[in-house]
Amino acid sequence: MPDPGSATPAPGGTRRREGPGRLLIAGYTLFAVAAGSRAAWQLATDFDAAPLAYTLSAVAAAVYLVAAVGFARDGRTSHRVAVVCCAVELAGVLSVGLFSLFRPDLFPEATVWSRFGSGYFFVPSVLPVLGLWWLFRGHRTARGPA
């Protein structure tokens, strides 16, 4: 009987912190700080200019932060939290990306998700895809034979 120590994969997602997971935690933390401080500043200084865009940036920052925690923590719930966050981000960056192209009047000021995150070298589009890949890859290995 193997010792259920730290080397044993946690249920529902194997060692999300390990390997590329660490890079994802770093990336998500960076984006939470970057988007969050920018949003806080914009909301504080000129909320009236683009309330929707600025609020959305703040929401995006919160999602990045929760995702980073989800990646960093063990357990099935954290795995679900991370999956939901990545899915929300992917939906957000795709829909806001499309809206910013076809209905730019809705987003007069840039958000972190505008034009698929082009202001941030498209990292906002890439992060959730990498995140979901990592989460489900971990899931498969956890269930498969050792």
């Binding site: 390990e18 590329p20 890079l23 770093a26 970057a34 401080s37 941030y120």
Partner: protein
């Protein structure tokens, strides 16, 4: 901002990022030589910090100035944070985080340059 200095730091940061990427692919953890590389990059970033502060003294403060200072602080802090991360995380993914930090420095400098043009305009 001094254009050539900013460009030089960006090129240095991108070269460093490429090196750390290669070292990540070779599965190297953060080693002494990587720390020296980060220290060199951090040194020029601190030069940029001093130059920027001196240049800012000649400008009247505005909302853009606050944002500029925020980004300036980011460039100075991101490499030490990555260095700590790399010394704790002894896998090659620590090196990947350092690579990301170098890319962040290059990207944030680009954004700072845009804001600087708004400040002096």
């Amino acid at each position: 901002m001094i254009d050539w200095l900013t460009a030089a730091i960006q090129i240095l940061a991108l070269l460093a990022a490429a090196w750390y990427l290669v070292e990540t692919l070779r599965k190297r953890p953060v080693l002494r030589r990587h720390m020296i590389g980060m220290a060199v990059l951090e040194a020029v970033v601190v030069v940029q910090l001093v130059v920027s502060i001196v240049l800012l003294l000649g400008q009247s403060g505005s909302a853009d100035t606050v944002m500029f200072i925020g980004y300036l602080a980011t460039t100075v802090l991101v490499l030490p944070v990555a260095a700590i991360w790399g010394s704790v995380d002894r896998s090659h993914w620590g090196t990947a985080v350092v690579c990301g930090a170098c890319l962040t420095v290059a990207a944030v400098l680009m954004r700072m340059d845009q804001i600087w043009r708004m400040i002096v305009a």
